[in-house]
């Protein structure tokens, strides 16, 4: 409850700061807030796009959160999701176009996406466990390596020459994940797909894993204190290595919504910084799967409304969204801010009013 209130306060503070910035540029903040809201939730198709942008963020948010619980910082989601996407797109082209068991093939592709991401995640894990080198620098380096390397392969070895962009050929119908519009009353062209529900399922599985299994207990114990975990007989090295692999694998699953669900191919620059936003999402969701899902929808909504912002105002570009996101993260992580006297007062009043409502 307390963390929820804090996240909400962070959101409002960030929006207030943005309002000041917007009025400095000479636009009306209220107009901007209105556009932000209506273009994210105002219509069915707007909501569909919000879900579409939220899906990869759920995966990367979960990936970052898992590593967080072990006390590790996975900034490498961007590289890991590139690996997952590339592996599924390339291996996907070899899948037969006609098959009577499409679900089996899709399950295989999910495994491929997971393993490719895990491969990229396990390397910093190994380096951390055996060489003690800091995972933050290593994962940042591995982002650059993976993006550069995959651009090379996509350009010179797997390029689809029928289009101009650096992209691999289309994957067959067999392994494409259905659009939400086939079940729900969305427009036919809208991009959100069933990977969203897979993401929700993954969030639930991660919750079970972290809080209801022995392994999850070990992982969180390592996150609390390496020394204590070690002296209670937990194999710390194993936990460090496998948690990074799992985290990378979760990031790799972004391929489901992007490659299998919408683009049907690997395309250079397909990720709109999902890996980095995953950190924000995990933080805002306080590393809890449910919080991450909610935070992902919020960030997906923000991302979605950026484009509308550019069309509907004269001087503001979609980059305003980045400003809001950055401010939200900054405020959320500033623990001391919530211990200032005036902030404590607000927190107390909010809690009281919520309690009173609960009683009434």
């Amino acid at each position: 409850m307390k963390s929820l209130i804090r996240s909400i306060i962070a959101l409002f503070l960030a929006l207030a700061c943005t309002g000041v910035l917007v009025s400095c540029i000479g636009e009306s903040p209220w107009q901007v807030y209105k556009i932000l809201f209506t273009s994210a939730f105002g219509s069915l198709s707007a909501f569909n796009y919000t879900l579409y942008y939220a899906t990869p963020l759920i995966f990367t948010g979960l990936a970052v959160a898992l590593a967080f619980h072990v006390g590790l910082f996975n900034i490498g989601c961007e590289g890991q999701l590139y690996m997952g996407a590339f592996a599924t797109a390339v291996i996907g082209t070899y899948i037969p176009a006609q098959s009577s068991f499409p679900l089996l093939w899709i399950a295989l592709m999910i495994l491929v996406a997971f393993l490719a991401g895990a491969l990229w995640g396990i390397i910093p894990g190994l380096l951390k466990a055996y060489r003690g080198s800091h995972e933050v620098i290593n994962t940042i380096m591995m982002n650059f390596i993976s993006i550069s390397l995959l651009t090379y392969f996509a350009l010179y070895h797997f390029k689809d020459h029928s289009i101009q962009a650096i992209a691999t050929p289309l994957i067959p119908e067999t392994i494409r994940i259905a659009k939400l519009s086939s079940w729900f009353p969305f427009e036919h062209t809208s991009p959100a797909n069933f990977a969203f529900f897979i993401a929700l399922g993954t969030a639930y599985l991660l919750y079970i894993f972290l809080w209801k299994t022995r392994y999850g207990f070990e992982y969180r114990a390592v996150g609390k204190s390496l020394q204590v975990a070690h002296s209670t007989g937990i194999n710390v090295k194993k936990v460090l290595i496998f948690s990074m692999a799992l985290s990378g694998g979760l990031a790799g699953l972004v391929a489901l919504s992007e490659v299998l669900g919408h683009l049907y191919r690997f395309k250079e620059g397909f990720s709109h910084g999902y890996g980095f936003l995953g950190i924000a999402v995990a933080l805002l969701g306080r590393n809890h799967p449910l919080g991450i899902v909610l935070a992902s929808i919020l960030f997906g909504a923000l991302h979605n409304s950026g484009i509308a912002l550019e069309f509907d105002t004269a001087h503001i570009s979609r980059d305003l969204v980045g400003v809001i996101q950055g401010l939200i993260i900054l405020v959320t992580t500033s623990d001391g801010l919530f211990e200032l006297p005036w902030m404590k007062k607000i927190l107390k009043n909010m809690k009281l009013s919520i309690l009173q409502k609960g009683k009434a």
């Binding site: 620098i137 591995m142 010179y156 980059d319 996101q325 401010l327 992580t333």
Partner: protein
């Protein structure tokens, strides 16, 4: 030209021949080394910025974002005031302002320093193009800075007369020299002055520093602001020194490279400078290797050469540099008892 000669001529300029000849050419080395010096300049500034912040105990992965803001503000200042000096000052001021957010969040509000750094990066990568749209009309780039108001190159008297070295070391814009001067000044300051000693004490043993009467948190805030100033210089170099205008994403990962150069240099100014030169060299090499084959190896795709600094960093981190090299209180907020 008879047939024999023309064949020789063809062989000389065939792909392989050209590749070999290039490596024996003195002019090629002059241009390679002088561009190494230029390309390592923004890295040097930003890495020194990282040095100031991290030696005082505040992790700073926001170098990238601070550089971008510096680059934008410098371009704006240069265009608005029609003077490159004003541009540089604007870049410094803007980067310092954004750095103050990081400083306040990390030092005053005990934020997680890595998260705060990421937040600053996301913030800056939104803010710079947003302001570009508001002030210049496009989110992509600023108008070009014409040569009349562009920063001019300086020649160093005497030095420019020396063959080869003169050509490599002279004819640069003042910021290149300033970076080198800063490296040595920082080294002396850190090693020889009382303030420099305090700076290191704050990062290694904040409790001890506090008991000596050093204001730990104030020292850290000023250190982070210093890193903002240096990142502003780095950004200004990119947009109005080396380039002629601001472009979206023009830092392209240099902030992170600078950070690793600093770690590579074990949090010390002079080794950091050499790491920056190394990364600058691979960058300069990569530009020249596009389309020119290496003798014996054939043509190496530019993407692979681009990877070199990253791979080298990882190998070095895994092989040689333990965590003992880092400032001891790095990343830990100081709470006075």
């Amino acid at each position: 030209m008879d047939e024999k000669n023309s064949k020789k001529y063809e062989a000389f300029y065939s792909a392989e021949g050209k590749g070999i000849m290039l490596w024996l050419d003195l002019a090629f080395w002059v241009s390679l080394l002088s561009s190494t010096l230029r390309l390592s300049t923004p890295l040097t500034f930003a890495a020194l910025g990282g040095f100031f912040s991290e030696r005082s105990g505040v992790v700073n992965i926001a170098l990238e974002g601070l550089m971008l803001i510096g680059a934008f503000a410098a371009a704006w200042g240069n265009l608005y005031f029609q003077s490159s000096v004003a541009g540089v000052l604007c870049g410094i001021l803007a980067a310092m302002l954004v750095a103050s957010l990081h400083a306040v969040a990390c030092v005053k509000f005990k934020a997680d320093q890595i998260v705060s750094g990421m937040a600053i990066n996301i913030f800056a990568f939104g803010l710079a193009p947003m302001l570009s749209k508001a002030l210049f009309g496009t989110r992509g780039s600023s108008p070009q800075i014409l040569s009349e108001i562009h920063m001019q190159t300086w020649n160093i008297p005497l030095l420019e007369k020396i063959p080869f070295f003169g050509d490599v070391l002279s004819h640069h814009i003042p910021l290149v020299y300033l970076a080198i001067v800063f490296v040595f000044m920082t080294h002396l300051w850190s090693k020889k002055s009382a303030l420099g000693l305090h700076h290191r004490a704050v990062g290694d043993h904040p409790e001890a520093a506090d008991s000596l009467g050093i204001k730990v948190n104030r020292f850290r805030i000023v250190s982070v602001l210093c890193s903002g100033v240096l990142c502003g210089l780095a950004g200004a170099f990119l947009s109005i020194g080396h380039g002629s205008g601001f472009a979206r994403n023009m830092t392209s990962g240099r902030g992170y490279i600078a950070l690793t150069a600093m770690i590579f240099g074990k949090w010390k100014p002079i080794p950091t400078f050499f790491a920056c030169l190394l990364f600058g060299f691979t960058d300069a090499l990569q530009i020249r290797m596009q389309g020119t084959p290496l003798p014996g190896l054939g043509e190496i795709p530019p993407q692979f050469v681009q990877l070199l600094p990253y791979v080298v960093t990882m190998v070095v981190l895994a092989g040689f540099i333990g965590s003992s090299q880092a400032p001891k209180a790095l990343g830990i907020p100081y709470i006075k008892e």
